[in-house]
């Protein structure tokens, strides 16, 4: 078992790859009541075209299968539903799907091992019938309708439409009513058998546990399954350019909601360049705060002029096939926010980054990383999501120290390019 320790945040992660290919991460937290288990597979809404190991032909499935599978895995052959069983144990169970992974989880204080029995059992035993697949279409249909009423989600998805020509990041995680109607049990089994192989999965446990003991508990509950070899995923070619500079949708909102997106180039994360990817991520976080954080000139100006009334969210999202900056907020004049943002970037490029501001923001980001390590839920989710990107979450704490003004200025030039920017607006 590999032990990774970080002295800055004073935490340890125990990592083990089991014989069947499953990766296990254990994060012990002494003296904490809450326990958390999350089992993820490297399979999300982006993975609709792939080659099943052992086959030659490529398989294409309708959009929304990963999310549909997430719903259906809870159903058991004996007629019970695992979500009910887990809830009956008094634990809080859930599951979610992102564009690159699907995860099943529970948190609890008591009944941990009973819940673990159930979680590990249902994830390993799919049971799909024509009838139970049909039934789920109604529930997921309501979920899709619910998201259609969320302006935040609409503005996000439209940003993806404007930035990406072909990359599946632009499709809805749930699929649409049309695509989910094409899903049947054979498709679900095919995707399950391909992607729910231990070699494609990671199990993370956090709480007051002995790591060695926990590994044994996990092994006891694994059914026999062979590592099935490499899954070839096929993603469409994506040009570097954006699709359209602006995109708008009408929805009843009190004030326009906007997202500024900046499409970035993607480098496949490998062991050799993972530090570079982490460093880039940190540098972009620093830049975003310098440009539009609470202490920035631009934020203060826009606030005082009444153009914005709260801090926009500032994010850098990336995966194996996509990367972009996202700035989301509400304003009566989103076009002005956008123009001023571009102006500020031009200014920063000519004048350079102020050393004092840089150091202050760096301290802030360091503090934010430390804060991630309080809750077993946050820690586990972070390690899981980063793992699927090829990153160990501790890397952020290690890399931040070495970041300097020159590096950040370089990233400003590389990433914040006007021809890569889009503006998405949702308004009345």
């Amino acid at each position: 078992m590999q032990i990774i320790e970080n002295l800055k945040v004073k935490e340890r992660v125990y990592q083990e790859k089991l014989d069947n290919g499953l990766t296990v991460l254990i994060i012990p937290k002494r003296g904490v009541e809450k326990k958390y288990m999350i089992w993820g597979t490297n399979y999300g809404s982006n993975d609709s075209t792939f080659i099943v190991p052992g086959e030659e032909k490529e398989t294409q499935v309708p959009n929304g299968v990963a999310h549909f599978l997430e719903h259906k895995l809870f159903e058991q052959e004996n007629g019970t539903n695992s979500l009910d069983t887990l809830t009956a144990l008094g634990v809080e169970a859930n599951a979610y799907t992102t564009n690159d992974h699907t995860a099943y989880l529970f948190e609890c204080t008591g009944n941990f091992y009973e819940a673990m029995d159930e979680l590990m059992d249902y994830v390993q035993h799919p049971y799909f019938t024509d009838e139970n697949v049909e039934k789920e279409k109604g529930i997921i249909g309501q979920e899709i309708m619910m998201y259609n009423d969320y302006p935040d989600w609409r503005v996000y998805l439209n940003t993806m439409q404007a930035m990406y020509h072909n990359n599946p990041i632009k499709i809805d995680i749930t699929g649409t009513i049309e695509t989910i109607n094409k899903i049947d049990k054979d498709i679900l089994y095919k995707c399950y058998n391909t992607f729910y192989n231990p070699s494609n999965m990671v199990l993370v446990v956090a709480g007051d546990f002995e790591p060695e003991q926990m590994i044994k508990e996990i092994q006891k509950r694994l059914i026999e399954k062979k590592s099935n070899g490499k899954i070839t995923r096929i993603y469409p070619e994506e040009p570097e350019s954006i699709v359209q500079a602006t995109i708008e949708e009408k929805l009843e909102v009190s004030q326009p909601i906007y997202t500024i997106g900046i499409k970035d180039k993607v480098k496949e994360c490998s062991f050799e360049n993972k530090n570079e990817i982490v460093k880039k991520h940190i540098a972009i976080e620093i830049l975003l705060k310098l440009i539009l954080g609470k202490s920035s000139n631009l934020y203060q100006q826009l606030y005082n002029e009444g153009i914005i009334s709260a801090q926009p969210s500032l994010d850098y999202e990336f995966g194996k096939t996509y990367a972009h900056v996202l700035i989301t907020g509400q304003s009566e004049k989103p076009e002005q926010v956008y123009e001023r943002f571009k102006e500020e970037i031009r200014k920063l490029k000519t004048e350079g980054v102020n050393e004092k501001d840089f150091n202050r923001i760096k301290k802030t980001i360091y503090g934010a990383y430390i804060k991630e390590y309080d809750d077993v839920v946050d820690i586990s989710r972070m390690f899981l999501a980063d793992y699927f990107k090829g990153i160990n979450s501790f890397d952020y704490l290690e890399e931040i120290e070495g970041i300097n003004v020159e590096y950040v200025e370089q990233m400003l030039k590389d990433v914040f390019k006007e021809e890569k920017m889009v503006l998405s607006i949702v308004k009345n």
Partner: protein, 408 residues
């Protein structure tokens, strides 16, 4: 003071509690926004932000809450504790306590008034927040249902106030009101983290604290309301651009004595508080009418709110099915096993209170406010004692007050 070394951070919370009423609700909301604009020592928001960033990104946050018939102005600073500072920066905790007290009790004043510019800008911001109520349709539907249930009563008030009340407020009158508020309100300060006696001494000796006067705070001690059964249910239907209808049912829980609130909590768990509940199982899993089908319990006001997102044409079908669940609760159609499961779930949640600093502070604050002082162990004990008979009895005292539907 909550002494714990379990966390990477120290959390400081200051709560100002005052009576909720139409006259002051908007002013209080505005004060909370204006205070974060600047103090005598940090004149602008920019200055405050810079100071926070220097303390390794201490996060300063403020918010508003309603507990019973009170409005609470909440202020927080979360700061990483000294064990995790890369260099030997010291007294970051004391420093942040000084800052938060400065922001609340020593605001930026010009000519005996809040700065005009700040007042006008924040009036505008509050107006946007109030207008923004419609952005989250599900939340909006619930707020509207509460508003209808508590028409002309304090609890029906929106915590950010009213646009028409904003106009007449100016910096001078508001500052006068602020001074009165600080003199009369209940003030609670909580600190969770690596703390010792020196910290409470430090707070007591803080100039801003020393200048506060002794008081008999003006607020309403929240008591579990023992209300009457509703005779006639109200139906309210609003129209808005939505693709999914939001159906809310506001129930009145009439209790014989306050201790029955633990029973009501279990009632809520069985009805719609979990994935095993009647609503989730029947409205979502069996009838496939909804993705969200749940309920929540408002303890001090004695209400259960049912919340469903449905196809608009399924209104009657969903309503009938929900009412059937309420009826089945009255007829004791649930098992001992189900009760045990819900109990276990609630107890599990109670046990994790200690694992989160803000949850723990919120818990102790509500105990302090209601003067109940129920410890976490007692709380668990009370939950365990509830029987099926108790739940059925409470179920028969529960009536539908308001049916609210938001459609297109």
């Amino acid at each position: 003071m909550i002494k714990t070394d379990k966390f990477k951070t120290n959390l400081i919370a200051v709560f100002l509690t005052t009576e909720l009423n139409r006259e002051n609700v908007t002013k209080n909301a505005l004060i909370s926004s204006i205070l974060r604009r600047g103090s005598q020592n940090m004149n602008s928001q920019e200055e405050i932000s810079k100071q926070m960033e220097e303390m390794y990104g201490a996060s300063f946050d403020c918010g508003l809450d309603k507990i019973g018939d009170n409005q609470i102005l909440k202020f927080y600073i979360e700061v990483i504790n000294d064990n995790f500072l890369p260099q030997n920066d010291v007294n970051i905790l004391q420093n942040s306590i000084e800052k938060i007290l400065d922001i609340i009790f020593n605001p930026y004043i010009e000519n005996e008034a809040f700065k005009k510019e700040y007042v006008e800008q924040e009036k505008n911001n509050i107006r946007k927040i109030i207008e923004g109520k419609i952005d989250n349709k599900a939340k909006y539907a619930m707020d509207r249902c509460i508003e209808e249930m508590y028409k002309n009563e304090p609890y029906g008030l929106y915590k950010f106030g009213y646009i028409e009340d904003l106009e007449d407020i100016n910096g001078k009158d508001l500052y006068e009101y602020y001074k009165q508020l600080i003199q009369d309100c209940k003030i609670d300060i909580f600190i969770s983290g690596i703390v010792d006696e020196k910290i409470s001494e430090f707070i007591e000796n803080n100039d801003n604290i020393k200048k506060l006067q002794e008081r008999d705070p003006k607020y309403i001690i929240p008591k579990v309301e023992l209300k009457q059964k509703t005779e006639q249910e109200k139906v309210i239907i609003d129209s808005m651009e939505v693709s999914q209808g939001k159906l809310i049912l506001g129930l009145d829980v009439s209790l014989e004595n306050p201790d029955l609130r633990y029973t009501a909590l279990l009632y809520n768990g069985l009805l719609g508080g979990s994935a095993n509940s009647k609503l989730f199982q029947n409205v979502r899993e069996k009838a496939h009418l909804a993705y969200v089908a749940s309920s929540s319990y408002i303890r001090y006001k004695g209400n259960v709110l049912i919340n469903c997102g449905i196809d608009i044409e399924n209104y009657q079908k969903a309503l009938d099915l929900i009412k059937q669940q309420i009826e089945e609760m009255r007829q004791a159609k649930f098992s001992e096993d189900e009760i045990e499961n819900i109990k276990q779930g609630i107890i599990d949640t109670i046990k994790t209170i200690k694992d989160e600093q803000d949850t723990q502070i919120t818990y102790y604050f509500s105990q302090e406010l209601s003067q109940e002082n129920v410890s976490i162990d007692e709380y668990i004990e009370k939950i365990q004692q509830v029987t099926k008979e108790d739940i059925v009895k409470v179920a028969n005292e529960i009536t539908v007050n308001t049916i609210y539907f938001l459609k297109d």
